[in-house]
Symmetry: D2
Subunit: 183 residues, 4 copies
């Protein structure tokens, strides 16, 4: 193994200077703080659509909602497993962006939604019951609490799956929302 032992001082010096420079690290995983940020962003976007509707009308709010879906959901990558709170029957699941857009801002004859994001939402909060992180995918489950302009509070049971894409953006690939069970 003579070759290997004949390492010149120059080579060792090169190693040392290389050690000073930071080692490049590519990490594709989701972190807890990224999950929390994405959860906060979801609520902020909902309220923003609501306020945009009040200020600028349906067309503006609808364009904004579509932009939010483009950026925060995974529809451009494939189907999204989305069960909105108030959807039912054969329109329960919104695996396409068209179905999701209808749920948030209505205006779609087939789905017949009223537009959940058009309600006068004021504040948003969430309480995670548990979080599960597996590579570039994170699962959350907990309560989401929305308050409207009249001070009425709506709490829903909410499950999300976030996928971190190649640009580092977390995208919702699963969203199951339901009203609390009452006997």
């Amino acid at each position: 193994m003579k070759r290997a032992t004949l390492i010149s001082m120059g080579f060792m010096a090169a190693l040392s200077s290389a050690a000073i420079a930071a080692t490049p690290v590519q990490n594709n995983n989701i972190t807890e703080s990224e999950v929390e940020a994405a959860q906060k962003a979801w609520g902020a976007a909902l309220i923003q659509i609501s306020k945009d509707y009040a200020a600028n009308g349906h067309e503006s709010a609808s364009a904004l909602a579509n932009q939010v879906l483009d950026q925060a959901y995974g529809y451009s990558h494939g189907p999204v497993l989305f069960k909105p709170t108030l959807a039912s029957g054969e329109k329960t699941f919104r695996v396409t962006q068209e179905g999701a857009l209808s749920y948030f801002v209505g205006g779609n004859d087939y789905y017949g939604d009223g537009g959940f994001a058009l309600k006068p939402w004021e504040t948003y909060d969430f309480e995670n019951a548990a979080v599960y992180i597996n590579g570039d995918l994170a699962l959350t489950m907990g309560h989401v609490i929305l308050t409207d302009s009249a001070g009425d509070t709506t709490t829903v049971d909410k499950t999300w799956a976030f996928k971190k894409d190649e640009q580092g953006t977390l995208r919702i690939v699963l969203h199951h929302s339901s009203l609390p069970y009452s006997e």
Copy 2:
């Protein structure tokens, strides 16, 4: 590069015989058929617990339910994100096995559940709206349809996340079940 070019015929022969033997492949991923099998197994287990309760009483059914939770859920690995259909209030989320067991067979003073698996379930079916597979984790969303001994049908909106463990067993790490929305 003389070393490399001096490959003896014996070595090439060894390569050829190695090629005849199958290359060892370790594949940690979930397949669609594994997901379907796990979904079928969930319903079969529910009905088995129900029938065991009718035939052998609560103690037997409770032991069976605990065994099902041991084998089909991920509680031994960490928290499970479980929102059962009929759970609500501060008892909505059952991140521990104790909470899940109570939901299925009752008998727990704190949770006060009636025992969902003790109802006289006869048949089970599911309809996936979409499936999302990411490594050793698979997400499903769709309807689950249960029929009881009186012929009454219960349909729920159901989301599952299955994690394939090191033994190749799919374990439920997320389970969100809710009644269909009705105005």
Copy 3:
């Protein structure tokens, strides 16, 4: 639970027709056959660069090599862990595309490579010793056998890691190649 049991026949019919349409499935995992195809493509690209050099000269071969690196390696996503067969000293690791390009076609004063892909390669084969698949990442290890126009054979010990990107393309994110050990 009266709501849930009052499912109209129309709804069940909708479920049935939905079942006829294929369930959308998003599967981000790598398959064995995708790995084999990527391994074959690597060799085909190497030979193509070699033949392009012979036919059209260095500029053409260099452009082609750059295109291959763009498409088959992960440099556009981050650092690639690349240890080429004949690289050594402080130039052993080529974590940037510039370093990789130099290795394949030379023409870079800093690296001083002769250009591995410019040799007159004729045929390519590989023998996997084992394959390891973990989500969207696959690892392979085995022999790669190259034959040149003089009929001389070069065998190297080769390790690859392939990452499946969002477009479904397998990209090399790790490549360790070494000459067989000889005493």
Copy 4:
């Protein structure tokens, strides 16, 4: 949506107290610091085997090496993609634990290895050229520098893939080691 808005103050209080307790988080991902610790542990184990051999003989060192393989490699989970530094020909790849054990401590007629870990190793260091983290799998590439009791230094080009198992232990599932190329 009257149900949802009729949330009692008691329920909100329950949410608040739940928020005080830490949310359970299951995170299956590898961290950079875990990777570094595993890389350090590999060298420490090599030196420990070497010193055990000097102090207690071959049987003791062999038992220790087997224990290290049990704990730090993934052989109990499936094949390991292992190309040791000094292995060649049809014995290049050691996908079974038997082949790996032979490489480190010899004593195996088929493989005929001298026993790499039996050399009088004194110190160990590593320099990562780059690290790639993807879920529960991490890839490293760089130099490993070993010094023996005579002060001679051996540098090798080293690639590892570590898989985090269900107990949180990082296991080597790929290990490609080669002597630096010299013309």
